[in-house]
């Protein structure tokens, strides 16, 4: 994976990664976050971190009726926003629940693998692997 969850047990649920993701896009708030942290049945049980695994054969792209999700050579997908009709098939198809819906834009939040979330994680839960997928290109 390009963005690796190296130690989810270290996650404290601060959501700084989510806020960083949105900030990197020029906004604040949570609607546009392409990564998610949530508690798993109460704060005492710890947190689940969800982020795109950059699949080499991505199910989300396979179910997109308009080819709005273009498979990248190094894994994962790019969103071609103009093509997206907001059907949410991709959200359903993602086995690891890592496509989130932006209700305001009615478009999926698709990770671009910039690594800004990992760079901002204060507790070393995330790691940005810059080498990932290079041999495939």
């Amino acid at each position: 994976m390009r963005i690796e969850i190296i130690d989810p047990d270290r996650c404290v649920g601060c959501e700084i990664c989510m806020l960083a993701c949105v900030r990197r896009q020029g906004f604040a708030g949570l609607a546009k976050s392409k990564i998610a942290v949530h508690s798993s049945g109460g704060m005492e049980k710890g947190f689940t971190v969800l982020v795109c695994r950059a699949c080499s054969d991505p199910p989300c792209a396979a179910v997109c009726p308009t080819n709005a999700l273009e498979v990248r050579k190094d894994g994962g997908v790019n969103l071609i926003s103009e093509k997206c009709i907001g059907c949410k098939n991709c959200v359903e198809a993602c086995t690891v629940n890592s496509i989130f819906w932006d209700n305001e834009a009615n478009k999926p939040n698709i990770c671009i693998y910039c690594g800004f979330c990992a760079m901002n994680c204060p507790h070393h839960v995330l790691y940005f692997n810059k080498e990932w997928g290079k041999e495939n290109v």
């Binding site: 404290v12 649920g13 601060c14 959501e15 700084i16 806020l19 949105v22 900030r23 990197r24 020029g26 906004f27 604040a28 708030g29 949570l30 609607a31 546009k32 998610a36 942290v37 949530h38 508690s39 798993s40 049945g41 109460g42 704060m43 005492e44 710890g46 689940t48 209700n103 305001e104 901002n120 204060p122 507790h123």
Partner: protein
Amino acid sequence: MFEDKFTRVLYIDLSKKSFAIKSRPDLFEKWLGGSGVGIQLLKEECPKDTDPFSPENTIIFAVGPITSLYPLASKTVAMFKSPLTGNLGESHAGGRSAVSIMMAGYGAIVIKGKSDIPIYLSIFDNEVRFHDARAIWGIKDAITVGKIIRQRETFSGQRSIMRIGRAGENLVSFASLNTETYRHFGRLGLGAVFGSKNLKALVIAGKRTINLTDPKAYLRVYKNILDETTSSLMKKYHDLGTAVNVLPLHEIGGLPIENLNKISYEGAAELSGENLAQNYLGRRIACTGCPVACVHIAAFRDPHEEEKYFYKTSMIGYDYEPIYSLGTMLGIKDAKGFLKLMDRTEKLGLDAMSSGVALAWATEMLNKNIVTESETLVKFSFGDWEKYIEGLENIVLMPNDFYKALSRGTSYASEIYGGKDFALNFGKNEMPGYHTGAATHLGWFLGARHSHLDNAGYSMDQSLKGDYPEPEKLVDNLIEEEANRQILSSLVVCFFARAIYLNFDNTINCLKTVGIDLTKEELKELGMEIYRQKMSYKTQEGWLPSHLDLPKRIFETPAPFGKISEDYMKKAIDHFRDRLEKDFR
């Protein structure tokens, strides 16, 4: 001011089960948010002399212009008329509450009226629903209530669930409002106000975008603040949490023990942050948007009494103040006992601080034979935690007149049963865990919330090291600090970040990125004006501090830098009353 949903106020009427959303830029432009906006809304909505348990009492939740935008801007301010003091109630909590309110699209929420049946509220964006809560009213513990609502509602794992326990339902004057299991609007009885309105819980969440005029500036300012946060705050509060303060305070002789009869005992090491971390710490968590993660949760493994090899593991949150109130104040010498008390307090939905101080007072009353076991029903003895578990239950169940009085706080109970000299309350609110000197006691006696966080007198005591200025000067310093802190609680940021946001250059830069231009002088003046607004509300509701209301115990037990002088305190309070009359009416 930037155009944003932040300036909207959600008005909820529980009697009519109706709501309205109003845009109030007038409020937020003048008063920022949080405390500043909260006190204005309270003045607008809650008439003079309102009975705290009447439908007219108003609950206000308010966040600030930088909530969810900057590190540690993660707190919500609640304002209401307090059933404990009969005056201004202000309580702060973090968890996910602040970001959830901001993301649902509100700067403030106003709750009035009283429902005819128990209900809970769900607020998701523009949708407010009133749900039947009759089936969850009376459930034994507040943790279970959270679990039930979790199953029923949306936004799983990313919402704030505020709820009361049986203490709130039964109108214990110091019942707390729990949020996310481990955070609380703990003080001054917000839980009882919820109970009086038949409001069991409130769940809130949302996801939205805040548009910025200059995203690059935002990136830059955010990074500066985050760097400062991680370099200065992370270590101390992330490692041991607020419990880091137990040993240092014990060492200087500022930790109140056994109803402040003592300042030293052999239990301190056992209840220290170091010991709790080494032997019990199970997880650390953070409020949304805060990298510090000061919230410390013990994993407590307890064998079942009847069945071999059957264990239950409880996750129990701990902090400095509950360690003091439920631990040292009750003379508890083993961590296990403290954790059990903490757990029960959490399940009942009591304020840990007031509860511990109330039981400490009851113990001394019993020890001095002012009351007997026929009143206390339990043979309290400092250190015997099992007895105090029964005491906590009795506060909530109120099986006799003594507990009916005690559930209204130590001030009220001592008016009836005596023992006023060692009923450790200030302005009718039970004391925090600092016996550091004149400044701390003056600070919370004269402060708007009677909280150690009003003006941090404990910190002044420790830096003055006994070298006190004239009492008038000390009071002026406390007022100035409290006025400055109104900026923090209007932004709204955690007071752990005070060094960062009281460096006004940081605050000015943050506010600029959301379109608010204020100078250092304007900020300071605003802080003073919010302070004035609070003080005028307090005097309107009949508050006038008198040195005669100070518990004598604080003069008897030596503070770290010597005994506190009664005369000094009297002069200080007289000066405060002058200023109240002259400057803050």
